[in-house]
Symmetry: D2
Subunit: 342 residues, 4 copies
Amino acid sequence: MTSAARLRVGVVGLGRLGKRHAENLAYRVPGAALVAACSPVEDELTWARENLPEPRLYDDYGALLADREVDAVWLVTPSSLHAQQIVDALQAGKHVFCEKPLSLDVGECERVLAEAARYPHLQATIGFMRRFDPSYRDAFDKIEAGVIGRPFLVRSQTTDKNDEDGFFVRFAATSGGIFLDCTVHDIDVARWLLGKPRAKRVFAAGAVALHEGLREYGDVDNGVAICEFEGGQLAMFYASRTQAHGNDTHSEVIGTAGALAIGRNPRVNRVEIFDASGVRNECTGSFFERFEEAFLFEAREFVDAVAGVDAGVGASLGDALEATRIGVALRESLLRGGAVDL
Amino acid sequence: MTSAARLRVGVVGLGRLGKRHAENLAYRVPGAALVAACSPVEDELTWARENLPEPRLYDDYGALLADREVDAVWLVTPSSLHAQQIVDALQAGKHVFCEKPLSLDVGECERVLAEAARYPHLQATIGFMRRFDPSYRDAFDKIEAGVIGRPFLVRSQTTDKNDEDGFFVRFAATSGGIFLDCTVHDIDVARWLLGKPRAKRVFAAGAVALHEGLREYGDVDNGVAICEFEGGQLAMFYASRTQAHGNDTHSEVIGTAGALAIGRNPRVNRVEIFDASGVRNECTGSFFERFEEAFLFEAREFVDAVAGVDAGVGASLGDALEATRIGVALRESLLRGGAVDL
Amino acid sequence: MTSAARLRVGVVGLGRLGKRHAENLAYRVPGAALVAACSPVEDELTWARENLPEPRLYDDYGALLADREVDAVWLVTPSSLHAQQIVDALQAGKHVFCEKPLSLDVGECERVLAEAARYPHLQATIGFMRRFDPSYRDAFDKIEAGVIGRPFLVRSQTTDKNDEDGFFVRFAATSGGIFLDCTVHDIDVARWLLGKPRAKRVFAAGAVALHEGLREYGDVDNGVAICEFEGGQLAMFYASRTQAHGNDTHSEVIGTAGALAIGRNPRVNRVEIFDASGVRNECTGSFFERFEEAFLFEAREFVDAVAGVDAGVGASLGDALEATRIGVALRESLLRGGAVDL
Amino acid sequence: MTSAARLRVGVVGLGRLGKRHAENLAYRVPGAALVAACSPVEDELTWARENLPEPRLYDDYGALLADREVDAVWLVTPSSLHAQQIVDALQAGKHVFCEKPLSLDVGECERVLAEAARYPHLQATIGFMRRFDPSYRDAFDKIEAGVIGRPFLVRSQTTDKNDEDGFFVRFAATSGGIFLDCTVHDIDVARWLLGKPRAKRVFAAGAVALHEGLREYGDVDNGVAICEFEGGQLAMFYASRTQAHGNDTHSEVIGTAGALAIGRNPRVNRVEIFDASGVRNECTGSFFERFEEAFLFEAREFVDAVAGVDAGVGASLGDALEATRIGVALRESLLRGGAVDL
């Protein structure tokens, strides 16, 4: 493979997750070349200079978009910027990968879709990375192969290890709340595994187990929800900020002829410990650990998709819109205290 | 122990479950003597004659109640008879154990409670046997001991292996529907593990995965639900008639400092099989297999309770009333398509 | 069933295990009646008086054997007494159940077999209770059904939770050492699951991990061994007195078309605990907990066998002889430091 | 990082495993540059041309060694060539990584060690990749941290899925037999986890379960062994060519205060399947799948070690010598039918 054939990527945003994406693109994605990086934070640019293979550095997104040697942008920026940055990238003729969510606002999602419809030759993917996790992918493939008959129910959860520092409390004003911040992944998983149905009714409830500071934002640290889809399928969701054992992200798909569970015990590795407390395994501490491979594979598949070898696994803008639409309805249900029809 | 000190029990109803109760009381409960059995079915009385230690046999419940040598009745009869049979037993001065549910009708439950209040010296327990399963009991004890902090969420399911014969479809007219027939156990488990809170709002939804015949009864073969309690605790329920792998009854309790899962993999025993399909364990086929010990222990504890050594584990009539109240609300939510406030 | 048809049993020895056998025979074995108990220890007889259904009590074994109303004796006595007590029982015309081992001496085993050959109408079974554990039994049945093809290798272990009190150190002088005391169960399991082959060569080695006091007896607190059978089958054994997590008794059988593991994780029940240490289950603390059901089922099957309904599961005197023969060879290998041919 | 700083590697041998090493070195090891590849097989060079980043290609090992732009050679060649190729590489001033085994002959191993002692500035590592598997590594770290007290027993197995094609039968003449081909990994794991003790006595036995063709080579398709170490530690090994469920490589380490198991259930991913056969997970099909990460991490650590950041995890030539010495003794024990003292 010659470097001419490589997709030249510019990464935007170099926080913790941005750094991971940048390293993957720089060193672990054969068809990609990380040629540029953009951040308004000087420390992040310094990190890029020291750790990446000589990318061109920008502190301004517009300047990056003007770089003719960049084929695709990789957005790992604050959620509130996603929608406009995607539109700008497409207008500049760049393929675009953007971390979830597309937007916390349904109308804004729709505006991006309308604009993107004008650039059908450009790839635009939202980073619902679970689809690229080998276990989720295996489940998807098994469902496609008919292993469990017709799937009709997904149960899925995103539960984080309790963060005593309470970062997410300070983040509550802009996170969109637990359902838009966490459950949005489960919504996407459910729709993906159930054949992309549209929601028709949702119900949500929540509890504040530990973080009282969330109450002023109408947010909770544990949320549960049910979603009814138009085709009669169902989904149940659970999100938590307060788990003691680690990040426990798992999903189940129940079909007419069997069921699949993905990640029910969030074991961090293959070690079991036998001691006075019994037999135990340690757990993944964060989504970073749990989805390390997924982040890598999603980058590889994006590059393949641009090259025309699209496995169709990535979440489209339409998928992201539907996830936001359902997430917003869940938040409304939580606040209002009743079911919400969509 | 002399036989004089034994609790003399008469079992009423000798269907499959009645037989099991009868055998336990006859042979495996040290303080009990099975002295009488009642059934309107001749075959069942024949079975009793051949398999039990010479009980007095009755085909009429009134006649059994008139038997002065019977201290307690053990009702394993059709649900629609429970309420009146309990009242009759108490009025006849007998302790009474009755299989769940107390009644499918909230008003009727309340009438039984009012009547029972007149007989405080008589034991009246509803057979929510899960409370006596050693694993559920261990979880309860661990929660009491503070192992998981303050419990605030229970997820619980009752899912049966698909019965191709479709017995429960024919039974649909009188079962009360999936939530009153199955989920009622999970409701009781949730309340028991969460400190007996009262429900304030529920939401339910369902799907007909395989058994179309249920539609005419407004019933489903898979149901999901959320229950909000007055103290802010939450419960999520799942019930199914269509599992491929067996009876998979399990529960989770999530607290502020940890969580417990009870029976997540419904393994039938300690054997693992390694073959071309991977590593697997077989599953419990029915609640009979799963709760064999629970049925025995509930009988032992009932006898102890009558003898004054009450561990307080059994479900009271008040617990049974609350379970019915919530189950009825779930059915209403399913039919109406929205949340129901209690 | 009339009491006339019951097998009238006299239990001999009422230590911890004797008490359990006695209670099973008294209350949980339909075809049995516990009519007599024998112990030289006054406290044990007092216990019998208070906890058993009015048995005739003896402090002398000969007196029990003279009791014409006793059909079978149940020996839970010190190992060194087993052989002679079995012979005495047979000569007195009683069926006999005896806890393992038959004897620690091969010659003595052979003498019992020779004597027993004269009483073919009397049942004589040695209590290798694992054969009656539902999981071991299921494995046996699966092998019989051909699920794993031809079995050719068993790996089996008996490992106890470390006893800081060091009872077994004081017991070392008479226990026969770790292989005759513990591994004898695994030897029996291996032979049972492999079709009762004869051993041809063994090798053993050991370590003293914690209990230095064992050295003076030539004993170890952890032992490993290999046994080659005449038909080419193999067995590997592990025995330990020093486990931190509990009694971990498990076995694997490997065949030409698959494998079975029995009890690989010695979970005490169906509860999983999620906390800062990860996901864990507690373990069975002792063989008492682990084999509670097995002790009951072996009593039931003995009674059935006497009644002519012999499932052929119990260990014969011949099986017990072979187990001792192999155990003695393992001890010799450990002491001598090389392989031992049988 | 500039490319000047990179370790310039030449890979030798491009069979299945060689290709994997080459791809890792080319694309996934930041400090390495794959600059050369050597194979006598034209197809393999073609593969290198098409899949690697423009390496210089050689069909002769001597020519590669003469390449002044190569800092290190990576030997993935037939076992019989390893020893001489390592010596040649060291004499040419190259660092050397070589797949296991160092040699099947103890004397030859010793000759390499003697030669290597002359080049202390050159890194020479044998590819016992399990040490780099994250789970094995975690176990090692936990032992170092004292989690299980003093480790005194390792049980370890290498068992392959049955290969109906019987490749290893044809390979039997040169493989060294099951213990030198498979168990050598377990020997290395045992020594590594037990603090690198020297063996003093071994015993081995075997069975031909399916592949009769092995008999003429004195080989077996299932082998078991015990190894006693000088410090009193013990190891038990199991190797198999005939597993039905997959490659099942796992190890246990037992210490005075606890135990660790690594990989007891060889699950291929995090998916569980619920169907009529029960609850199951699929298994890793081969060591390739199981140790994918280990191969990558061993390459990274080799590069770091050359750069002076040596975590000391890799197997030294001395470790490889000891593994061969024990493996040869196991083979001798199998053939001779008795214990072998070292």
